[in-house]
C-alpha cells in the first residue's frame, strides 16, 4: 500500500539526545498546548528520575529515563518518547473507521469523532505509542497529534518550540542532512546511526544518541513498512471471495445436475418397466 510520495519536505523532528538535558520543558509545553489533564504521580514511580512513569491517557510525551549497566559502570540515560509519525503508519492502515490520517505536512493525526475504540492501533503500533482512556466508560485513544493545528499555520510543535537545546524541526531531507552532518563532524560523539531513518519504513522523528539505542530503551523495529505485511494477505480477499464462491457454486451446479440426470434416468426406467408390464 505504500505509495511513492515525496517525503523530503514532511515536517520532521531531529532530536539530538547528546544535547538533551532532561529538563522536561517539552513535557510541560505539551500538557499546556494540548490542555491535557494533570496526572497524579509519585517520584521514582518509573525508572530513574522518571515522572510520570510512562505515556498515558493524560501524557503525550515524556522524558523516558533508563538505568543501565555499561562497561562495568552504572549509567543512566534519557530520551524523549513521543509518536514517531511514521511515513507509512501501521495505525492508519489497521483502523477500521479511518480515524487516523497521515497528513501531507507530516503529522499522523487522530479523529476522536470517528474512533470506535477497538484498540487495534495499540496492537499495531511498533513503537507502542497510542494510549487508551481506561478511566472512562466510553473511552477513546490518545496520541500525540504532532501539534497539527500549529504546524498547519507554519508554527513549530509546542515541544519543539519549548526545547532549549535538543530539538530541530524542519523538512525531512533537511533534518536527515543535518543529522548526517553532525555524525560526520563529530564521529566520536555519536553512535553512527539515525534512529527513525529506516525504522518502520522511516519516521518523521529522528534521533541521534551517544549510547547504543537498544541500551536506553529504544525498540528494535523492523525496517519494512508494517502495512505491507497485512496488505500482502488482504490483497487476496477479492480473489478468495470469488474463487470460493465461484467454485462452490460450480460444484453445486455440477452435483445437482448429476442428481437430476440420475433421477430422470430412474424415472424413465420406471416408466419403461411399467410399459413392459402393460404389454405383457
Amino acid at each position: 500500500m505504500s505509495t511513492e510520495r515525496d517525503l523530503s519536505n514532511q515536517r520532521t523532528f531531529l532530536i539530538d539526545l547528546t544535547k538533551c538535558t532532561g529538563c522536561r520543558a517539552c513535557q510541560v509545553a505539551c500538557k499546556q498546548w494540548n490542555q491535557m489533564e494533570a496526572e497524579k504521580t509519585s517520584f521514582f514511580e518509573g525508572e530513574g528520575y522518571q515522572n510520570p512513569a510512562t505515556l498515558s491517557e493524560y501524557t503525550l510525551t515524556t522524558i523516558q529515563f533508563k538505568d543501565y549497566f555499561h562497561e562495568g559502570k552504572n549509567e543512566f540515560s534519557f530520551y524523549k518518547a513521543m509518536c514517531m509519525h511514521c511515513n507509512d503508519p501501521a495505525c492508519v492502515s489497521v483502523c477500521p473507521v479511518s480515524a487516523f490520517i497521515k497528513t501531507p505536512e507530516g503529522p499522523v493525526i487522530y479523529d476522536t469523532k470517528r474512533c470506535i475504540g477497538c484498540r487495534f492501533c495499540m496492537i499495531a503500533c511498533p513503537f507502542g505509542i497510542p494510549r487508551y482512556q481506561w478511566s472512562k466508560a466510553l473511552p477513546l485513544v490518545v496520541k500525540c497529534n504532532g501539534c497539527y493545528s500549529r504546524v498547519k499555520e507554519g508554527l513549530k510543535p509546542a515541544c519543539a518550540k519549548a526545547c532549549p537545546t535538543a530539538i530541530e524541526y524542519g523538512g525531512r531531507q533537511e533534518m536527515i542532512d543535518e543529522a548526517k552532518r553532525r555524525l560526520a563532524v563529530n564521529p566520536g560523539r555519536y553512535m553512527n546511526r539515525i534512529y527513525g531513518l529506516e525504522e518502520a519504513g522511516g519516521t518523521s522523528v529522528l534521533y541521534l544518541s551517544a549510547v547504543p539505542f537498544d541500551d536506553i530503551g529504544f525498540r528494535n523495529v523492523t525496517r519494512r513498512p508494517l502495512p505491507s505485511r497485512t496488505w500482502a494477505a488482504l490483497r487476496f480477499v477479492p480473489t478468495a471471495f470469488i474463487t470460493m464462491g465461484g467454485s462452490l457454486a460450480f460444484i453445486s451446479w455440477l452435483t445437482h445436475r448429476k442428481e437430476k440426470i440420475r433421477r430422470e434416468k430412474e424415472m424413465k426406467e420406471v416408466e419403461r418397466a411399467s410399459q413392459k408390464g402393460d404389454r405383457s
Binding site: V94, V97, S252
Partner: protein, 400 residues
C-alpha cells in the same frame, strides 16, 4: 394463568442444568452492565500493555472458528450434495447463528464506543483487516439468521416466506461459505501487523491460511461434539454412522495444516524460534495435542466409527488444540520477555462464562421449541399450502 406465570412454570420444568445456565447468563448480563457503568479500566485487567484481553482472545478470535461448523457442513451437504448428512445441518446452523450473534455481542462490549459501530460503513478503510472482519461478521450473521429462520417459520406455519427461504437456501450457503472463508482467515491477518510482537513460532505470512484450515477442521469437530451431546442429552438418534463420513474428511485437513505449519516454521519464519522455554512448551502442546495426536487417531478406522471415541478425539483434543492456538497467537505469543502478565478480571471472566452459558442455553431452548432436528431434505415439502397461518403444524416440544 398470566403470561408471566406461564413463563415461570415453563422455566421450572427445565432441567436443573439449564436453570444453572440461566443463573450464569444473568450474572454475565449484570457484569456487562457493570462494564458500561464503571468503564473498561475499572472492570477489566486491560491496560496500555494489554489492550486486548480475554474478550478479544476468546469471545472473538476463538469463538469465530468454534462457530465454523455451519459453513463447513453447509458446503459439504448442499454443494457437494452429500445428502445423508442433511440431519446435521440445522443444528449446525443454529450453533453458527448463536455463535456469531454472541461474537457480535462480545465485540460490542469490548469496543470503547459501541454506539458508533455504524462508522465502519460511514468511514470504511479497505486496508484494515478489522474493517474486513467487521463487515464479514455482520453479513455472515445476517446470512446465518436467514438460514436459521427456516425452522422458526415452520414452527409458526408461515409458508410463503418459507418458500422464499427455500429457494434462497443454496445461494445463501454458497455466500455464507465464501464470507466465512474471508473472515476466518482475516482474523489471522490481524496479527500480521504485530511484527516484532508476536513470537516467530506463530508469526508467518501464511497465518491467515492456517487460521482458515484450522477453522474448517474445528468446525467439523464441533459438529461431531454437538451431535454426540445432542444424542446423549436431548434424546436424539445416534448419528455415529453419519459422523463417520465427516471423520474421514478431517484427517485430510489436519494433515494439510501440519505440512503447511512445518513449512511455514522452517522456511517462512524468522529466527530465533525456540528461545523462550514457556512459549516453546505452549507451542509443543498445541501441535502435539491439537494436531498430531488427533491426526493419528483419525487415521484409525476403529476410532473414526466409534461414537464414544469420536467425541473424545474430536472434542477434547482438536477443540483444545484450537483454543490453545488462538490464545497463543492473540495473547501468550504477544507477551514480551520481562513483561507483566495479564490475567482476566472477575468481571471479564463472568462475562465470558455468561456468553458460553448463553450459547448452550439458547441452543437447548431453541431445540425445545423449534423443529431443528426434523429431517428436511432440500426438495422435500415443496407442496405445502400457500398463505400465512394456513395450517398449524403440531410441533411436539422435545424433552430436555
Amino acid at each position: 394463568m398470566t403470561a408471566m406465570q406461564k413463563v415461570v412454570s415453563e422455566i421450572r420444568s427445565f432441567h436443573l442444568f439449564l436453570r444453572i445456565l440461566i443463573v450464569l447468563v444473568t450474572a454475565g448480563l449484570f457484569a456487562a452492565i457493570a462494564r458500561f457503568a464503571f468503564g473498561l479500566g475499572a472492570t477489566t485487567n486491560l491496560n496500555d500493555v494489554y489492550p486486548w484481553g480475554l474478550w478479544i482472545s476468546f469471545d472473538v478470535v476463538t469463538s469465530v472458528p468454534l462457530a465454523a461448523g455451519a459453513f463447513v457442513l453447509g458446503a459439504i451437504v448442499h454443494c457437494f450434495n452429500i445428502k445423508k448428512l442433511e440431519p446435521l445441518v440445522r443444528p449446525a446452523i443454529v450453533t453458527g447463528f448463536l455463535g456469531y450473534s454472541l461474537v457480535c455481542l462480545g465485540l460490542l462490549l469490548d469496543l470503547g464506543q459501541p454506539h458508533r459501530g455504524w462508522h465502519v460503513f460511514a468511514y470504511p478503510n479497505l486496508h484494515s483487516p478489522m474493517f474486513e472482519v467487521a463487515l464479514c461478521v455482520m453479513s455472515y450473521t445476517t446470512v446465518a439468521l436467514l438460514e436459521f429462520l427456516a425452522p422458526v417459520f415452520e414452527k409458526f406455519g408461515f409458508h410463503l416466506p418459507l418458500r422464499f427461504l427455500r429457494t434462497l437456501e443454496l445461494p445463501l450457503i454458497v455466500l455464507g461459505a465464501a464470507i466465512a472463508t474471508l473472515h476466518q482467515s482475516t482474523i489471522g491477518t490481524f496479527f500480521l501487523i504485530a511484527v516484532d510482537k508476536l513470537h516467530n513460532l506463530w508469526y508467518n505470512p501464511i497465518l491467515p491460511l492456517l487460521f482458515w484450515i484450522s477453522a474448517v477442521f474445528t468446525g467439523m469437530c464441533i459438529i461431531i461434539i454437538e451431535a454426540v451431546m445432542v444424542h446423549r442429552y436431548l434424546d436424539q438418534p445416534d448419528e455415529t454412522d453419519l459422523l463417520a463420513t465427516l471423520t474421514r474428511i478431517i484427517p485430510w485437513f489436519l494433515g494439510i495444516y501440519l505440512v503447511l505449519k512445518i513449512f511455514a516454521l522452517f522456511y517462512l519464519s524468522e529466527r530465533p524460534l525456540f528461545d523462550r522455554p514457556v512459549l516453546t512448551t505452549l507451542f509443543a502442546i498445541e501441535m502435539i495435542a491439537g494436531i498430531i495426536i488427533p491426526f493419528i487417531m483419525f487415521l484409525h478406522k476403529r476410532i473414526r466409527t466409534d461414537g464414544v471415541l469420536q467425541l473424545r478425539a474430536a472434542g477434547l483434543v482438536v477443540m483444545f488444540g484450537l483454543v490453545l492456538n488462538r490464545f497463543n497467537v492473540s495473547m501468550f505469543g504477544m507477551i514480551q520477555e520481562n513483561q507483566q502478565i495479564y490475567y482476566p478480571s472477575v468481571i471479564e471472566s463472568i462475562v465470558t462464562i455468561g456468553i458460553i452459558a448463553a450459547h448452550i442455553l439458547f441452543f437447548a431452548v431453541i431445540a425445545r421449541y423449534f423443529p431443528i432436528f426434523e429431517h428436511h431434505s432440500e426438495d422435500a415439502n415443496n407442496a405445502i399450502e400457500d398463505g400465512f397461518h394456513s395450517t398449524h403444524e403440531q410441533v411436539v416440544p422435545e424433552k430436555i
